[in-house]
Amino acid sequence: MIKINTMRKHIILLSIFFSCMFLCEDLMAQAKKITLTGTVLDADTKLPMVGATVASGTPRRVVVVDSKGKYSIVVDEGATVIFTYVSYESKSVKLSPGQILLNVNLQEEKNNMKEVVVRGYVKRTRDQTTGSSALVSRKEIQDVPVGNVEQLLQGKVAGLNIQNNTGAPGMRGTVNIRGLSTIATTGSGDDAFLQPTSPLYVIDGVPMDADKASEFGFDQQGPGVSPLSLIPQEDIASIEILKDATATALYGSRGAYGVILIQTVRGQSEIPRVIYTSNYFVSTVPKLRETYGGTYERDFKLDQILRYGLTDDIYKITNTPFLADSLSAFYNNSTDWQDIFYSNRFNMTHNVSLDGGDAKFNYKTNLNYFSQDGIVENTGFERYSLNMNMEFKPSPKLSFFGSIRSSIGSVKSGSGSGVLQRVVDDSGQRSSLLPGPSFLLATSDVLTTLQIRESAGPKNITANMTANYELLPGLNIGTSGNYDYTIESKDTFLPAAANSQFARVYNYYSYGSTLYNRNNVSYTKSVNNSHNFFVNLFSEIYIKKNQENITQIERSPNDQFEGPLGYDGYNSKGGGVLTSFRDLKQASLAAAFTYDYKKKYILDVTYRIDGSSASGQLDPYSKNPSIGLRWNFAKEDFLKGTADWLSYGSFRLTAGQNIFPQGNLVDIYGRYNPYGFYNNAARVGIDYGQIPNPLLKAKKVLMYNLGVDAGFWDGKLDVVFETYFKKVDNELFDNRLSNTLGFGIYKSNGAALANYGYELSLSSRPLSKNSAFQWTFSINGALNYDVLTRLPEEYNGQYIDFVDQDGIGQYIAKRVGRNSLSNYLFINQGVYGSTTNVPVDPVTGLRMRNGSSGSYLNSYEGGDAIIWDANGDYVIDNRDRQVTGNTQPLITGGITNTFQYKDFSLNFYASYTAVRSILNNALSKRLLLLGDPFGTKTVPPAGSLDIWTGPGDTDATYANAYDYEHGRYMGNFRYEQSLWQESGSYLKINQATLAYTFKKKLAKRVGVNGIRTYISSANLVTFSPYSGPNPESVTSLGKDLSSGYPNPRTYTLGFNVTF
């Protein structure tokens, strides 16, 4: 019985075995293996898609595309092959029987939601993030060589307001994410500027302070090159801009102004490859101030004197040789002074990038040389950099990433300070009658610009190491550490001939270092594939040091003696450690928790505790929570039927808080000075200028964000709409103390402001994906209102800094309830048509007067500016000023247009700024030049301006600029009036590029893998109602200084060769 049973079992087993055998045979007969080969190319650039994966079959067989774009894979005949690459649309192709060759073009993923982003150092797809962010791809920042890659981000992201307000090579403009983050202004008069609040840059996980060079204003000491200028644009793989508190929460204690993540290129080619990029570009001088030359200038001045001068002035002509003695060779010139200082420049850049490796080990090296001579004589920027990184995954559980970046910058700023070129501006205004510069004839300021010798620039090295280990499935521990060390130096030598017969030596030296460490533990868990949890705990430590020293010898013994220097105390000016000294320590502990249900509902919660030595020692900690929700509503069942037109759709709602440490040692501890000895005891006492505030808090930024993302018709239209409210609290404010208190000022956290606004981004690819002609169009815009919400109690809602900002009288007014930074100006209401139009004081019978001097000469008459007498006393004085205008733009945005036809592509990038008042000081200066016919300054023709023509001309814009004898009593062209407050709206064509990618065959023939060549032009044209030269070249407080560095237009010819 037992035997029978076993037999039966055997038979059953055998029959199973055989049936299996038959089945397998059946399969084997079907699965004829073939070796499929082909190339995988980028559909747009036709470059090989190195590192793309080709997969087929079960079990899945995967190969990687090599550096020439070729692959070879063994698959079953007629199988389906899938091609994938990160951020490209994957393609699956069913092979036809007998097919052994398959060439594939991969299309870049244009569906915003599938982009992979790194959030809090953890990768996620964008449809899983709750925060607000935007991605700028490598392609958008390549074809125009710039000293600072930030310039190219202008107009690319809604809410990222970049104003490239200087054309100085290597310098940077202003960057703000979502409106104002500070109301602190420093500097005086023209030089007043808004404290920069640039976002935190994180480059491959290394935080970088981009404001470092600019935090002390235009006339800063040192070379003034932003650390950002040391990063070559060719080395950047992608840039992501994080805007709201939930997105920035994980970037810690400095993320309050937003975060910009820069990912550099990684090795991604099994066979090492070399990419060489070279640009040749010409910077051209924009239109400069027009002037009368030579005899025109003399005739104009003489005519003006004869027409408007007093009797005495006519006599004075004979004592003014350059007007009277037209035959003297010395005065018989027509010198174009601006031409001496400004000229077109030819420049070039070279970049070599080597990379290689696979997913287990890859490396990249990028070697860069960038050189740009400024259009102003004796200015320019050069950069040499060597960046390397490598990634190593010895096992699936363990991974390392390491990088070293080293760069040397060299900057020349001539006689200016980089951003400002005051001496050049003054010299450029010189009368054309004067002889041009030669060593014996030129005045010292001209020589200053032309003869100054300068050696300046930053040298930076950054090392970064990250390690990650998976302890248990889902449980990761990681550590990351990096160190950044920068030294900056500036040595200038001004020869005696250029400096009142005594040579001047200036030396600046600074070092700054940042040590950063982060350790984290994270755990992911998925329950039933529908409930997903993620927890991350991490700690962060920052140690930042900075010290700057200068030495200056105003009068060195002679031109030959440049050092070692030692001289008497009187002429050794300046020196010692500057107030920028910093020894900052920060420590943070943070936790992040994410939960999602079927990727439909996502919840993000973060909480961090930040301690900073920049906050008052009595309460250095701040607690910063954030919460974010996302609802991918397009995945809901009730919208199932809409899949044909609605590709994705979601709502995001976030709220969170972030900080920025803002105090310095003096603010918290006070400054102590040595006061000599008394009874042999050293006396050290507090400086009474400022009382220390041990309770000083870090700046707190609270942000709410509501966003809607939607995609329609499979990438034909993508829409992102966001609205936000951002409250900046604990803003640092200098409270001026009563003079009975002993101390001068007290730094409080008494001010606050708020921003709210809307951002809209639309991008569209209206044509079919398969058409040879491709058009991508996107437009974005941001509307931001800022409101000052609080000032210290004692100011009762308004503060005007008369003390620090004196100079030209253009005070900045801060009034609660209004946009935070307004102007405090006289209101100009036109021009008096004739003297009878001037109001007469009914009490005294006197005409409206300027100033309370009481002199009849100060009475207004026909042709003078009508200035609003707000207080009705028929005297125009400071009490008539009004708070007016908004120095910050309300609307910013940009437009991108890309056409592609086969191997050609044509790009247009434009950006716009609207509703902003800027002060046209350049025009004011220009009209003031007309009021001094005896001066040795040039005469700019003003014929095109609407200047008062004579009695009865009631609708002129500008007062009579020629009547200099009367005009000097009237201040018709005073800087501090609303006449100069013009609309600063503009639309700028940032860039136009035409690129051509050579046919593969052709490239091969010259022995390379690919060639791409392009011509581009940057800063092409600006459309604006503004009457000055360029509405963008204004300070962060909206003042158009004629001493600014003009933005050049550049034309570039570039090559990109892959070996």
């Binding site: 919208l639 409210f725 308004q798 007469v840 009914p842 005294t844």
Partner: protein
């Protein structure tokens, strides 16, 4: 599907609307004018002269408060609590409508530049400055004495307001001083309005003196350079009314010799009569004057000068300050050795009060020498 679209649009709309009202939602403050807590009067005690229009300048320091602002006088009272709002009584007042230039060809042309308006005697203008109009005279407002008692001081409070709120600045004072109808007023007691004496209540009178130059005494042949010197000959100057007509509009110049007998004005043979005062003929239709053997008379508009505007009739001419009217009466004679010598009698003056005034130059001791040598 349509339902779903509707649903989505609805959510979007709600979101947009709720955020559009951000100012409301987030309780952002509204902008208001600035009213500084430190805004105050620099001067809290005003001592205007009655009978002339006085404006304090820069009396109010706004400390950057926003104008326009309203100023209201409140609670006018004397130091002992009596009501003092009588000073705010409204009077018909001549105010300027357009500018006086000194180039007017007729009296009517000047009058057309002024018009009557009802104004309180004391008011605050838009800048906070205090105006006391010339309509406040000693008949209406009691002037202060040499000693000021609190019960004679007019106290008032000023309410300043703009959209930023309002504040009351308390206890400003007006201490009106007796009117002085003309200047120079050395012969006028500016405390009690009586003829001035060297000591209070004294018997020795103080006089006004003109400026003289190049004039020699008829009997002494010595230059009368110092009008106060009895040995070379004193010259007094009287500014006085010759009628009681309150609406008078005449101004006479008279020259008295040492016997107080009027000299013929034509003795001042080099005088440019049309350029002495901005005066007109009797009808007021053209620039002119009435010449008699005793005086020269102009038909004028008061006050003189009309405004603080430099004209050819004011001291320093068109480049002067325009503060005082200026007259100069000159003559020439052939001096010793056939030299032509010029004598000049001049004075800067002001007259605030309307009326028939005469300005008298009195050669007190020695007559001037008009004859040729």
């Amino acid at each position: 599907m349509q339902d779903a679209t509707k649903y989505k649009v609805l959510i979007l709309l709600t979101a947009v609307i709720s955020f559009t009202g951000c100012r409301k939602v987030f309780d952002l403050p509204e902008e208001v004018d600035y009213l500084s807590t430190k805004a105050d009067y620099n001067t809290k005690i005003f001592t205007p002269r009655l009978g002339r229009t006085s404006v304090t300048v820069n009396a109010f320091n706004p400390d950057a408060s926003s104008f326009p602002m309203t100023f209201t006088i409140q609670n006018a009272r004397f130091g002992d609590g009596r009501d003092a709002s009588d000073m705010m009584a409204v009077k018909p007042t001549l105010i300027w409508a357009s500018e006086y230039t000194g180039q007017e060809k007729t009296l009517a042309e000047i009058e057309n530049k002024r018009r009557i308006e009802n104004r309180p005697m004391v008011e605050l203008r838009g800048s906070g400055d205090l105006i006391m109009w010339y309509t406040a005279t000693r008949d209406l407002i009691k002037p202060s004495d040499s000693v000021t008692y609190p019960q004679d001081i007019r106290y008032f409070d000023v309410k300043i307001s703009n959209s930023g709120g309002s504040r009351v600045i308390k206890n400003l004072q007006i201490i009106p001083r007796i009117d002085v109808p003309y200047e120079p007023s050395d012969d006028y007691n500016t405390i009690n309005g009586k003829p001035n004496t060297t000591t209070p209540g004294g018997k020795v009178r103080v006089f006004n003196y003109p400026s003289i130059s190049g004039i020699k005494g008829a009997t002494t042949n010595v230059a009368m350079n110092d009008p106060k010197n009895p040995t070379t000959g004193r010259v007094y100057l009287y500014i006085r009314k010759f009628s009681n007509d309150a609406n008078g509009h005449r101004l006479r110049f008279k020259f008295l010799n040492k016997d107080s007998v009027a000299m013929n004005p034509l003795l001042f043979n080099e005088t440019k009569w049309l350029e002495q005062v901005h005066g007109f003929n009797e009808a007021g239709t053209e620039l002119g004057y009435k010449m008699t053997t005793e005086y020269v008379e102009y038909n004028v508009a008061y006050p003189i000068p009309l405004a603080r505007i430099p004209t050819r009739f004011t001291a320093g001419g068109a480049t002067g300050s325009g503060d005082m009217a200026h007259v100069e009466f000159t003559f020439s004679r052939v001096g010793f050795g056939g030299v032509r010598e010029f004598g000049k009698l001049s004075k800067d003056f002001k007259i605030y009060e309307k009326g028939d005034w005469e300005i008298v130059f009195h050669f007190k001791d020695i007559n001037p020498k008009f004859d040729n040598d």
